[in-house]
């Protein structure tokens, strides 16, 4: 399963925090890892033609459940993460089951999931007494008076801890990708995304398979959202639960390549380097400028390079 190349690659990644001394570079690396994990989770669905704009909802559910339970009840994220992931799974079933049962795909599915993101975002905004509304919320910090870390609170002053957590998540995500590939014949996967009747005829239970993948994808995204919140120590509806976040996932994955294992990761690297490059190069008007460029690039990618950077590169190499 894990070939030598993979073990070497992961070992090299694990060595990075020891080599990197700059706090800023470490921050970029952690962010890349967390997003790579989330993007890979999104692609589980995307590569089967299930384009979800609902992952903002799952990410928001993860981040807000953990933060709210911590602030209001003092429940450790180590416990509440289970609640968060379970909630995301439940919502995924709630949306996924009727959609797949009635064979809602393509545009319709995308719009239904878009609505889901909007529901979660508006619930967060509407419950502003506990969630802080659109201003966002900060997990109560235990990192004061000389305390630099707490496993119970999952708060660490040292970014390297988060890097290793995210690295483990990412490796698991890649591993799951491989398992999905192995558990299904290629033609069955093709069949699911393209021709449902054909898939049924080769003995694939389309509804159940799609639902499993959706639930898995939602759970991972919720986990990623919680991790993101713990790392950033600040969340708001725009950054974790909006259509904007959902589109960001779509963009990064398409840029990297939706149909290859490391495509989403390449997408995360590409987009974050672009953002950071612009931040360093140009400065403060950054927020809108990077999105402007993302928007244009997304259009260009879909028209001229729909398989993404890595997908295209691999295609070239294979020839």
């Amino acid at each position: 399963m894990l070939t030598r190349n993979w073990i070497l690659g992961i070992a090299a990644l694990a060595l990075l925090p020891i080599l990197v001394t700059s706090n800023y570079v470490m921050h970029v690396l952690v962010t890349i890892m967390i997003w790579s994990f989330i993007y890979t989770g999104w692609s589980y669905m995307g590569r089967f033609g299930l384009v979800s704009f609902g992952h903002g909802a799952f990410m928001g559910i993860g981040a807000y459940t953990v933060t709210l339970l911590w602030n209001a009840q003092g429940i450790s994220p180590l416990l509440s993460i289970f609640a968060a992931v379970a909630l995301a799974a439940a919502v995924a079933i709630l949306i996924g089951y009727p959609c797949f049962r009635f064979r809602i795909t393509g545009h319709y599915f995308a719009l239904v999931t878009l609505a889901l993101t909007e529901v979660v975002r508006s619930v967060i905004v509407a419950m502003r007494d506990v969630t802080g509304g659109s201003l966002g919320i900060t997990p109560d910090s235990v990192l004061k008076d000389g305390v630099t870390w707490s496993i119970y609170a999952v708060q660490f002053a040292d970014k390297r801890v988060f890097f290793y957590i995210a690295l483990v998540c990412w490796v698991i995500a890649i591993y799951i990708w491989q398992r999905i590939d192995q558990s299904m014949a290629r033609y069955a996967m093709q069949a699911i995304s393209e021709e449902e009747d054909a898939a049924s005829s080769v003995g694939v239970n389309v509804t159940a398979t799609k639902l499993k993948i959706t639930v898995l994808s939602a759970m991972m995204t919720a986990f990623g959202g919680a991790l993101y919140g713990q790392y950033q120590q600040y969340i708001n509806p725009e950054t974790v639960a909006s259509l904007g976040v959902s589109l960001q996932m779509v963009f990064a994955v398409i840029a990297g390549g939706m149909f290859v294992k490391l495509g989403p990761t390449v997408g995360a690297v590409f987009t974050l380097l672009l953002t950071e490059g612009l931040r360093v190069g140009i400065g403060n008007k950054i927020n809108a400028l990077d999105s402007t460029i993302y928007g244009i690039l997304l259009i260009l990618f879909i028209i001229y390079m729909p398989k993404g950077i890595l997908g295209k590169a691999l295609e070239k190499i294979q020839r």
Partner: protein, 288 residues
């Protein structure tokens, strides 16, 4: 108790007026989908640009309001044509989902470009219309005129689709695209025309909304998802379904907002949407 009911009635009436505007927004999107089989995810962002057009033409350059309105309709209509020609057309024969995603890119681009160009501040065209007082019920004229205009526009579109050759061709092409050349119709031209009409409807929507709301780069996000939900609930591409769904949604938001808080009105409407997806995932009037 008596007073309470009057305010509820006010909420219901306001809901009807809001429903009229929502129905207009949904109509443009449904037309595009019904004919070209593409969802413009960036539909509300086109509208946002229309609102800015009105703002700049009227408030900044001092042109009469109706000239500014006409300008906005023309500008957004042209944007619709540009969108189709340069963004949709290259992917029209590709994977259907790419057509959706590519307009997602346009959404991101337009919103960000508007932020770059206009900044994030809220802008108001500075027209405050009085309210119509019926007993104790107060209905803003801006809403009444918006709903009436929406109604007139919908009627005009209906007559256009029903009575003219072009309108008939627009309906025909959604039923059988392949044989259109046998009728002497070039599908590409009809698509451009439909995009222009869809854009014009978004432009008109912009004119109606700018009377009631401040414009800012993210305003599309307040109306876009709502419009998609109305369309999906009505059955994508089904104009009558969208019309009905618009009024249901508007009532839920208005009356729900009256009992709780306006944001909970939205939550109720969206919650209703999800419940309906269970009951009738193909939309209110969609056929399975």
């Amino acid at each position: 108790m008596q007073v309470f009911d009057i305010f509820l009635l006010e909420a219901v009436l306001n809901g009807i007026l809001f429903g009229g505007v929502l129905a207009l927004l949904a109509l443009g999107l449904n037309l595009i989908f019904g004919v070209i089989d593409v969802v413009w995810i960036c539909y509300a962002e086109l509208m946002m640009l229309g609102m800015y057009t009105v703002y700049f033409l009227h408030k900044v350059h001092g042109l009469p309001l109706f000239v500014a309105f006409a300008g906005a309709i023309v500008v957004v209509s042209a944007l619709g044509v540009v969108l189709h020609q340069f963004v949709i057309r290259p992917v029209l024969n590709g994977e259907p989902i790419n057509q959706l995603l590519v307009t997602g890119g346009v959404l991101t681009f337009l919103q960000a470009a508007a932020t770059l160009m206009f900044g994030i501040e809220f802008r108001n065209i500075g027209i405050s219309m009085p309210s119509l007082m019926v007993g104790e019920i107060s209905l803003p004229w801006s809403r009444i005129s918006a709903a009436l205009t929406a109604l007139v526009a919908m009627l005009a579109l209906y007559l256009f689709l029903k009575k003219t050759y072009l309108g008939t061709a627009i309906r025909a092409i959604s039923q059988d695209r392949a044989i259109m050349p046998l009728m002497g119709v070039a599908p590409a031209k009809i698509y451009l025309l439909t995009s222009a009409i869809g854009g014009a409807l978004a432009g008109l929507g912009a004119c109606l909304l700018v009377l009631q709301y401040d414009v800012h780069p993210a305003i599309g996000l307040s109306f876009g998802p709502l419009t998609f939900m109305v369309c999906v609930l009505g059955g994508l591409g089904n104009m009558l379904g969208g019309f009905i769904a618009a009024f249901i949604f508007a009532q839920l938001i208005s009356v729900g907002g009256f009992y709780f808080h306006i944001e909970w009105g939205y939550v109720m409407a969206f919650g209703f949407f999800i419940v309906m997806m269970f009951a009738r995932p193909q939309g209110l009037l969609g056929q399975k």
